[in-house]
Symmetry: C2
Subunit: 296 residues, 2 copies
DNA sequence: TAGTGGTCTAGACCACACA
DNA sequence: GTGTGGTCTAGACCACTAC
């Protein structure tokens, strides 16, 4: 456990900070009376200070930070201000907060790396499935909501060149390592879907099963990558706070004759995966065989 | 302006919510005394309620939400609780908060769509440049920090198969539409770099200029996509709150003989761009020529 | 000047994890 | 039980924006 510093720590400015300078260098409590408005809010200076300690190894990876009351006392600020600083670090994936336990420094980002060769046409990689096969993991249907006029549904209809009334929809969650990693939505221009396939809780590779049931062969048409914050619904599905960065991977698959047959939109927990595209033939040197995953 | 509802609004549960039921249906203020702990925190129920109003068109796109004191009075909760709810909606990109002005409903997500044909080898699309050429926009050098032992530097060295001491680094910001859209870092296994090229504030296409200066021809080796929250440094560079979802696009380019010559890591404001990969030849039907951008 | 959101405090009660 | 983080209140002062 890191040594608990006693007394009040000065939070004025910090290294490389522009304003906020006060005359004397005396250690001074920063309280309600803003003798010299520092322009940088207190909670942010606190966040920087904590970040510096983490970078310096004062709080190494995996270590528990001092508790909120401890930090509150050490820096002479309100506990809520401490919480605001720590929340910022949590959103930046620097620390992980475990309720009832403590706040811990995150290890340097372990990610699953998924290689995709963009020149091959028929493959069903790119789904997170093949990365970490494990018991209890997999894709699970969470519902088959009717296609109404939601913005998502409208988008799907536009992408498939159909009317919303012609579409069926299924929502799933992909679990890996005991955690929900991705929320998926599928739209298809046919229906009704086999009740057994879209039964909530059903495991399996939904895309493959649906394609088989419909008797169609699917090819990638296009895929797109973006980043958004989790909305309230996705946050609940994935068990993360709203606003958590999600990697959105969406696209259309079509039959060999070019008819759009599937629009898929996946929201993937950003800390869980990245997608790699290789543009050169597999290298011969062997020294650096493609991208190095961040750890795993 | 939406009509200001008077009185106290009931926040118990909300549609489709599991727990939190109380006996009578009377409108009741939810105060300090939790007569029946609803399990779902107040601020989240408030967020849902506001989201519902936005979905229902009570607060249409572009409209200003009632001010925090107004919402505080309407729902009978503390202003800080209101702020917590609104902050959640802001992180989910549902509303935009303008200090001193108000909180506004965001339009349905306008994004720049950038098509990339993954089968062609030599192209410098994929950079955000070609999307929105405009005056005052472009890429600007913000610094050429020495390569020390930071985790990023170590990663770059690993990717390039070099020691950190062999690398040079440049950081830039890409501005589009008057806003910073992407923060970029480049690592190259040579140096020193031409002082004129890495002078802070210098505009231009840095990759092309550096390659020309070094007399090397660059090809894509691999590119990867991920999503993270903005850390404190990126948040400052991009002018967004820490934790804002960023699309990370990183990769290695090499010379025609396969020698790694550039590691690049871009953090792109998630609300600004998405990357599209086309797997099929350009379509003949013409009806749906590739993916439809979300608006722009 | 008036109204908006941004920050900060002090204090309270709660749910959760763990010993 | 003890300590952790999670929620909520009341009140205050501030900075920014627009009129």
């Amino acid at each position: 456990m890191p040594p608990l510093q006693v007394g009040i720590v000065d939070l004025r400015g910090g290294a490389g900070h522009a304003r906020g300078s006060v005359g004397s260098g005396a250690l001074r409590r920063i309280g309600r009376v803003a003798t010299n408005p520092p322009s940088t809010p207190l909670y942010r200076r606190l966040a920087r200070q904590l970040q510096e300690r983490i970078d310096a190894g004062t709080y190494p990876a995996g270590a528990r930070l001092p508790s909120e009351p401890e930090l509150s006392a050490e820096f002479g600020v309100n506990r809520l201000t401490v919480r605001q600083a720590v929340a910022e670090l949590e959103r930046a994936a620097v620390v992980e907060i475990r309720r009832g336990v403590g706040t811990f420094v995150r290890p340097p980002a372990v990610r699953v790396s998924i290689a995709v060769d963009p020149r091959s046409q028929r493959f069903d990689l790119g789904s997170v499935h093949s990365a970490l096969p494990d018991a209890d993991d997999g894709e699970f249907v969470v519902g088959a909501p009717p296609v109404a006029g939601s913005p998502e549904d409208e988008e799907a209809a536009r992408q498939l060149g159909r009317e919303t009334a012609e579409l069926s929809r299924v929502d799933t969650v992909i679990r890996l390592g005991g955690r929900a990693r991705a929320a998926c939505s599928y739209w298809m221009p046919f229906g009704p879907l086999p009740a057994d396939l879209v039964r909530p809780g059903r495991p399996g590779n939904l895309v493959l099963d649906l394609a088989r049931a419909a008797g169609v062969e699917l090819e990638y048409d296009w895929r797109a990558f973006g980043a958004i914050g989790a909305d309230l619904a996705d946050a609940e599905l994935l068990g993360v706070p709203a606003g958590t960065p999600l990697l959105v991977r969406e696209g259309v698959s079509c039959t060999p004759d070019g008819t759009p047959a599937l629009y898929v939109r996946r929201r993937i927990d950003g800390s869980s995966a990245r997608f790699v595209l290789n543009f050169r033939e597999s290298r011969q040197d062997g020294a650096q065989p493609g991208p190095q995953p961040y750890g795993l």
